[in-house]
Amino acid sequence: MIGCYDFCGHYEWTFGWFERVGGHPLVRAYWDEAINLDSQSHARDLIKADGIPGMLKYWGHTLLEESPDLGFHISHREDVFRIDFHQCPSRGFLLRNDLKNYSDYCDHCMGWTGPMMKECGFQIDHEHNHRGQCWWEIRPAGTPGGHAPVGSVSGDKDARLLPNWLAPGAKLDRYTKANDPDDKTP
C-alpha cells in the first residue's frame, strides 16, 4: 500500500518518473490534470465560489493538517491572500530524508495552483529558495504592479526577513503575476 505519511517522498519520485517516461509536458499535465482538476477539486470549488475567503478556508485546513507545528503564516486582505512558509512541511520532508528524483520539486506548487488560480481569476506573485522557505501573494488578475515591498503584507512574518532566506545553497526562483509553472525567472 502507498501511504500518506511519506506522501511527499513518493509524490516527488513520481515527478521524476513522469519526466523520464514522457518528458516535461507529462509532468505539467500531471500537475494540472491529476492534482488541480482531480485531487484538489475541493480547493478549486472553494476558491471559485468564494475567492480569497475560499483560499483562507482551504489553506487554513490543509496547512494545519500538514504542518501542525505552524511553519507558515497566512495574511489576507480584501485584495490579497498571502502565505509565508518558514518551514515548508513538504520540501522539509524531502530535505530531511535526502530525497531527490526530480529537478525542482518546488515547481509543483505553481504547477497545480497556477492553472487553478487562472481559472478562478487570480494571478500569483511568488518566490521560493528551495530550502523550504517561500512566499505567495495572490491577487485578482489584472492587478497592476510587481512584487510588494518586504513586510508590506505580512509584517515581520515575511519569509524574506528570515535570516536564512538567502543562505548558502539557497537559490531563488521568482514568479511575477504568473499562472504557469514555467514562467519563472531565476
Binding site: 501511504g3 500518506c4 519520485w13 513520481t14 499535465a29 485531487s39 484538489q40 512541511p89 530524508n97
Partner: protein
C-alpha cells in the same frame, strides 16, 4: 517532536501521522496514469516505484527477514490515519489483516471514487517490493478490507489468483 517509529520506516516526518487528504492525490495519480499510459504503464509505474523509491525498505526486509517485514508494517499503519489492521507473524510468512483500509475509508467518506483497479496497486507494488527482498507476496480481498501475505520462498504459496483481488465499486 521526534521520529515516532525509529528504524522501521526509511523515510520519517516530524509529525506522527500523515495527512489523509493526500489519499485523494494517490487515487488521482492512478487515474491519470491509467488514462495516459494504460494499464501496462500503470503496472510499470508501480513496479518502478516498488524497486526504486522503496529500495531502502526492500533492503531492510532482505537483511532483517520476516521480523523486519512485520516491524515495517506495524510502523507503517501506525502512521496512517483511520485504519484497522492486525499483523500476524508466522514462521514462514507475515500476514496483514486489513479490516479497515485507511485509504478506501477516507476516499469513500469524502465522496471520492477509487479507480476500479485501485486495490490491485497493493499487489503490483507489494510484489515488486517483496521480489527485491527475496520474498513472495499475495493479496486476497479489496475495496476496504483484505489480507496481504509476505512469505519466504519456502512457504511455496500458490500462484496469485487475480480473481481474488476485488475491483473497486464505481
Amino acid at each position: 517532536m521526534t521520529n515516532p517509529t525509529p528504524g522501521s520506516l526509511p523515510y520519517t516526518d516530524t509529525k506522527p501521522v500523515g495527512s489523509a487528504d493526500f489519499y485523494f492525490a494517490i487515487n488521482s495519480t492512478f487515474r491519470f496514469i491509467l488514462g495516459r499510459l494504460g494499464r501496462n504503464g500503470w503496472i510499470r509505474y508501480l513496479t518502478d516505484l516498488g524497486t526504486g523509491y522503496y529500495a531502502p525498505v526492500n533492503t531492510q526486509w532482505q537483511q532483517g527477514g520476516l521480523p523486519a517485514v512485520a516491524a515495517y508494517w506495524r510502523a507503517f499503519f501506525a502512521a496512517e490515519p483511520g485504519g484497522e489492521v492486525e499483523i500476524k507473524e508466522l514462521p514462514d510468512r507475515v500476514e496483514l489483516h486489513v479490516k479497515v483500509c485507511p485509504l478506501i475509508k477516507h476516499l469513500r467518506a469524502h465522496g471520492r471514487v477509487p479507480v476500479k483497479e485501485f486495490c490491485q496497486h497493493c499487489y503490483h507494488l507489494g510484489t515488486a517490493r517483496a521480489g527485491a527482498a527475496g520474498l513472495t507476496m499475495r493479496l486476497c480481498g479489496g475495496d476496504g478490507s483484505c489480507v496481504h501475505t509476505f512469505a519466504l520462498p519456502a512457504a511455496q504459496l500458490p500462484a496469485q489468483d487475480r480473481n481474488q483481488i476485488k475491483e473497486n465499486l464505481q
